[in-house]
């Protein structure tokens, strides 16, 4: 074999050293994507937020949109609804998924089949699931009320009662918790067995073992689940919108007017209000103010999540 000596490479400039330039090339589609679909819209949202804009005329409005934010009763309503989702629906869903995973882990017979049964509903298309739940919980004639009446219980007005509409959607969320359950299942299976044995020798019962062994071990996954679900709750849109429309019996197509959040704005979330303001009423400027509010809140939770990543040493 003949080894030919290559001419010495000319010294490269500093920034070229390492793998920076190559990485830049590989990242370029994503950099373009971030600029066009992340940086640009955020900057122009700030710009539009100082304007009145209905897609035809653009006129400077100063701080009017921001002042209106403080007076808009719908913002308070949707903030309260979101707070309810964060305080009740998220913990309920996370704890239920964890309990379900714990149950599946303990099963000896038929675990695979049951796991599939618990997982499947999470794949049901969101519109289909929501319509089904409105049907199931139809007051008087729905199957759930029928079954309740067999037990002598009179069901509430579910999706028609502002006090029950969010709990009804929470039931939907519990039904669709399969993805979270599988995540918890994997985490539970990763807990080293010998820790349980050691705890058992120390005389710890099942509950004590859960508190002192399971919970600390799966804490990062639990935290991840909580924060992602809170962010998910901040974006809550489709289920609430479909439930409102179907339960109110609105016979309109997507283009026509509809008062969002039925019943009595109990399902009105900030993303829905933003959608109504921007894409139904065409107050693009004010919609951008709402978008920036949503952005600020989401970023706060994202920072919490990132801190969590760093703590579990995964972000490096």
């Amino acid at each position: 074999m003949i080894v030919t000596s290559l001419p010495a490479a000319p010294p490269r400039p500093r920034w070229w050293r390492g793998e920076g330039a190559r990485a830049l090339l590989w990242l370029s589609p994503w950099i373009a994507g971030v600029s066009v679909f992340f940086v640009y819209p955020l900057l122009s949202a700030v710009y539009f937020s100082f304007h009145r804009y209905d897609m035809y005329t653009l006129e400077f409005a100063g701080l009017d949109n921001y002042r209106y934010l403080l007076r808009d009763p719908r913002v308070g309503v949707s903030a309260r609804n979101t707070l309810w989702l964060v305080a009740v629906m998220v913990p309920a869903t996370v704890l239920f998924s964890l309990a379900l995973a714990q149950l599946v882990v303990r099963l000896k017979a038929g675990a695979g089949l049951l796991r599939t049964v618990f997982y499947l509903p999470s794949l049901v298309p969101m519109t289909a699931g929501t319509i089904t739940f409105v049907f199931l919980l139809n007051p008087g004639t729905g199957p759930v009320d029928h079954l309740l009446s067999l037990a002598g219980v009179r069901g509430p007005d579910w999706f028609g009662d502002p006090d029950w509409s969010k709990p009804s959607l929470t039931l939907l969320s519990l039904w669709g918790c399969g993805q979270l359950m599988v995540i918890f299942l994997a985490a539970l299976l990763d807990v080293p067995r010998h820790l349980y044995e050691a705890a058992a020798i120390d005389g710890a019962g099942a509950w004590r073992q859960f508190l002192s062994v399971t919970l600390p071990t799966i804490a990062p996954v639990l935290m991840f689940a909580l924060v992602t679900n809170v962010i998910y709750a901040l974006q809550y849109f489709s289920q609430a919108m479909v439930a409102s429309r179907v339960a109110s019996g609105a016979t309109d197509s997507p283009g026509s007017s509809f008062s969002p959040g039925y019943p009595e704005e109990s399902l009105l979330t900030l993303p829905q209000w933003l959608f109504q303001v921007g894409f139904r009423d065409y107050s693009m400027g004010y919609a951008c103010v709402l978008a920036l509010l949503l952005f600020a809140v989401s970023m706060i939770f994202t920072l919490v999540l990132l801190r969590q990543f760093r703590r579990s040493g995964e972000a490096s």
């Binding site: 590989w26 949202a45 000896k108 049964v117 994202t302 972000a315």
Partner: protein
């Protein structure tokens, strides 16, 4: 009671409880199917069991809606969206996982931030751009952006790629492989489960997406997707729960079939998101 007897009792209790819960999880689909087969009149009563089996309800759904057209639109959105996402996200994830460069930590943080960004935040300015380009009333504003990478997919792939030992890529480099060749010949074959999971997740995301098509698909019936069409179907046939449930079942069925065809990908993919994340 003896220790053995108690253990047996606990075994029975746990399994009975699990089976009861499983039945509750299956009940919505069962009621959906039973109602789908009822007559119009019976579907409005509180009966649980159909008096006659009206299989023709399914045919009627096809007659009364553009279900096949919606399925076609949804399939186009989901298939192209998935293809574009995989093709554009793999190189980015590869770069984030393998190259050492200044600012790669910052780049990764931007990926996470973009992943957490609610789609509604950027909706107005982006919508205005697509409107100016005359592309609203179509699904292209949803499909085309996927050519530029999807944050969640990049995140998932990157988390998987960092677990591949460096020795493999270093060996390829020693053998004179270019970056592209290393990716295609060495990394991708090892990353098949992650790529499959990303593809499947993206497919399902598009297939089930309601918000995106609501914004862009417009109001014409023949532009709708399945999830959007189903919601309007209910609005047009508000008292016909049997037809609505038949339509709901028809929209749900392909998803369930796909799950059974690719079960392992789902379970592994979900695990990937949570535990490594």
């Amino acid at each position: 009671m003896s220790g053995r007897g108690r253990r047996l009792l606990l075994w029975v209790a746990t399994h009975a409880f699990a089976v009861a819960l499983a039945l509750m999880f299956l009940a919505p689909v069962a009621f959906m199917a039973l109602t789908a087969l009822m007559t119009d009149e019976q579907a409005l009563t509180s009966d649980l069991w159909p008096r006659s089996w009206n299989w023709a309800n399914f045919a009627e759904v096809f007659d009364r809606s553009l279900l096949l057209r919606w399925a076609g639109n949804t399939l186009l959105y989901a298939a192209l969206g998935t293809l574009f996402t995989v093709v554009s996200s793999v190189p980015v994830a590869y770069a984030l996982a393998r190259f050492r460069f200044r600012g790669r930590r910052a780049a990764f943080l931007v990926v996470i931030a973009a992943m957490m960004l609610p789609p509604q935040v950027v909706a107005v300015p982006i919508y205005l751009v697509w409107a100016r380009l005359g592309l609203t009333d179509s699904l292209w504003p949803l499909i085309l952006p996927m050519l530029l990478g999807d944050a969640f997919s990049i995140f998932l792939l990157r988390q998987f790629l960092v677990t591949i030992p460096r020795d493999y890529t270093d060996a390829a480099k020693v053998d004179g492989c270019s970056d592209l060749r290393t990716l295609v010949r060495v990394v991708l074959p090892m990353a098949r489960p992650a790529v499959a999971a990303v593809a499947l997740f993206q497919f399902f995301y598009c297939w089930n997406d309601y918000y995106g098509p609501l914004l862009y698909a417009g109001v014409q019936q023949d532009h709708l997707t399945l999830s959007l069409g189903l919601a309007t179907f209910k609005a047009f046939h508000s008292v016909q729960w049997n037809l609505t449930m038949a339509a709901t079942l028809l929209v749900t069925a392909p998803v369930i079939v796909l799950f059974f065809l690719a079960q392992w990908v789902f379970i592994e993919g979900v695990t990937l998101t949570g535990v490594k994340g």
